[in-house]
Amino acid sequence: MKRRGVTLKLLGVVLSAALLVGAMGTFHQTSAAPAKHVKIGSVMPITGPLAVLGLAFNRGWQLYLDKINSQGGLKIGDETYLFDLISEDSKLSAEGASTAAKKLINQDKVDYVVGGIMEFELEAIYQATSTRKVPFIIANINVPGHQADVSPKKPFLVRLFYSHDDSHSIDLDYLVKTYPKAKKMVIVAPDVDYDRMIEHLTAQAKVVGIDVVGVGKWAFGTTDFIPTYTKALAMNPEVIWAMVSGQATYQLMAARQLGFKGPFVSNVPLGPEVFQHVVNDPTALTDVITNGVDLSRPNEMIKDVMGRWDAKFKDPFVSDCLAAWDQTWILTQAMEKAKSVAGDKVIAALETMTAPGSLKTCFGPGQMGGAKRFGVNRVLTRPLPLTRIMNGKTEFIGFMTVK
């Protein structure tokens, strides 16, 4: 009886202590401010022929945001911010992009929208975001200076993707140094508003002593490049420049099959591993110059991204996700600089980050710029990878600074 009484008393003490500890924990929780959430909406084609790109970008954003969330979030002052990514499918159409953007803004109440691969998507998304003053981050643009691009008239638009023609000077310098006898060039480009870039490249090539003897154009959606290259090679080029095309691999195959043996330049960030995988012919994979990252020799940051991808996804790594990773990374760097997550303050902060090295990216130090060309400093400039493929093997030249 006496023992039972002692046991009961002991139980009572233990229960009370447990209740007290629990109450203290709750008190601590309620007294510490919960993390706030920043919602980022993405609009990319995740179905259809460009889905591989759309998915790669979505994954790149997600991987970076997972990283920052796993580290406890972004601390700005006394506040901590966690990030949520909400992805929608643009279906590679203006209507799809518009519907997706409107859903993200009106229903999901996102703080930022990021995305777009084609210019018609960018225009449709910006139409939706600008009406609600939600900042829109352009993920990709094929034609810098297009009406969908940044301008002083578009205060809520920023492009955290480099201009493709940034690669011109890098690739031309390498061509002149490595292939000094190649003096006649044919540019092969999709028939979609590339005229300004073609003019720009032609002028730059002339300065370094290369004559553009012709331009071959192909319709968007082309799968057979033999007709285009039949025409292009009739102009007797010594070098071919396949301008900004995700189908550069098929273009290379067509050029080599038709007997072209000279240097082939692809100034799109298609990784050399994609060339090796798709072309699969060492004799064709010779004298190929690309602005894709050599994934067999990644730097530490790229290795980290690749490791995170492998841990989360079973598909092979797609190097386009590095650009997307950088976009969310740069966004958080701008938030830290602005000491705020508010869109207008973050964009203003980005516009001040123009000194070389203001921004960290997977490719090296970068900065914002574009005031001279676009009227606003809202375009990313960062080093570009340069890789040559010889006899099926990659030679990584390095991350080259844009002039």
Partner: protein, 290 residues
């Protein structure tokens, strides 16, 4: 030889190669239409899966590409038998026109989504049939395109011989011309439909494998050829095999030569303009009947 002339001749050779690919694709489609009376809207996806079968046989089992193409044709023929038996067989409780259209549309979506899920979106390629090129009329012609012409012509010849010289072929033709009459002669229309579907799918697999090697391999590769196939059977005449041949060759020559001579904008418009003109003159197609 003058560079311009060389260029045009190269373009014509390429057009002929493309034409043969289109013929094999369209022949399967029009064959199924003429024998079974159904428009198989998932034919482009059968073409795509045939190509992926070749890819996996080559990359996973290390088989020779030619042998893989043969196996793919057999596999897709078996798939065709399955489709006919369980999805497209004529039944009293099924609308003969609407049901196949609805079923094949659904099948197309399932096969495409399945391909994306199963094969992934990452770029793949089928080993080339042959590497390098030959000099023809002063210009370089890819060897694999010449080989594609030979394979396609051989397939067409075999099909022709099968139809004309074999009992099964004769039975299929009889069934296509008069289903009730053939039934009275003891020819099982369901069996004929099954064989026809198998042949149609095998042709699609051959076209897909050749295209996957020459052009590109990805889950959405079937939609454009399907559209071309539909244009060809309308152009050639619904259910007409000679029409599919002529229509396919015409479209192939247009696709091979117009971009070279007139540029990309004309290449997109020319096939449509020519189809409209032909249909204005002959609304039933070049070899079609009322």
């Amino acid at each position: 030889m003058n560079l311009q002339v060389q260029m045009w001749l190269q373009a014509v050779v390429n057009g002929v190669a493309l034409g043969w690919l289109y013929i094999v694709m369209a022949l399967g489609l029009t064959w199924i239409l003429s024998i079974m009376g159904i428009l198989q809207l998932a034919h482009g996806e059968v073409y795509m899966i045939g190509a992926y079968v070749v890819y996996y046989l080559c990359s996973s089992l290390g088989l020779n590409v030619y042998f893989s193409i043969l196996i793919s044709m057999v596999v897709m023929a078996a798939f065709g038998i399955f489709l006919e038996r369980f999805l497209f067989r004529v039944r009293a409780d099924r609308d003969p026109v609407l049901t196949p259209i609805v079923v094949s549309t659904g099948l197309s979506l399932i096969l495409t989504s399945g391909a994306v899920a199963g094969f992934g979106l990452y770029e793949k390629s089928i080993p080339r049939l042959l590497y390098g090129s030959v000099r023809l009329f002063g210009g370089a012609v890819p060897k694999d395109r010449l080989l594609a012409i030979i394979f396609s012509a051989a397939a067409l010849l075999l099909l022709f011989l099968f139809l004309k010289r074999s009992r099964w072929g004769q039975a299929i033709m009889a069934s296509a011309q008069n289903r009730e009459g053939a039934l009275l002669r003891g020819i099982d229309p369901n069996q004929m439909a099954m064989i026809s579907m198998a042949i149609g799918c095998a042709m699609a697999a051959l076209a897909g494998a050749l295209a996957g090697s020459i052009l590109m391999l990805q889950p959405y590769m079937g939609s454009q050829p399907m559209l071309k196939g539909l244009v060809i059977i309308v152009l050639g005449g619904l259910g007409s095999l000679p029409g599919a041949f002529v229509g396919g060759m015409l479209l192939g020559l247009i696709d091979g030569t117009i971009p070279v001579i007139f540029g990309p904008a004309a290449a997109a418009l020319a096939p449509l303009i020519i189809v409209i003109l032909i249909l204005l003159i002959r609304p039933t197609g070049m070899f079609g009947h009322e």
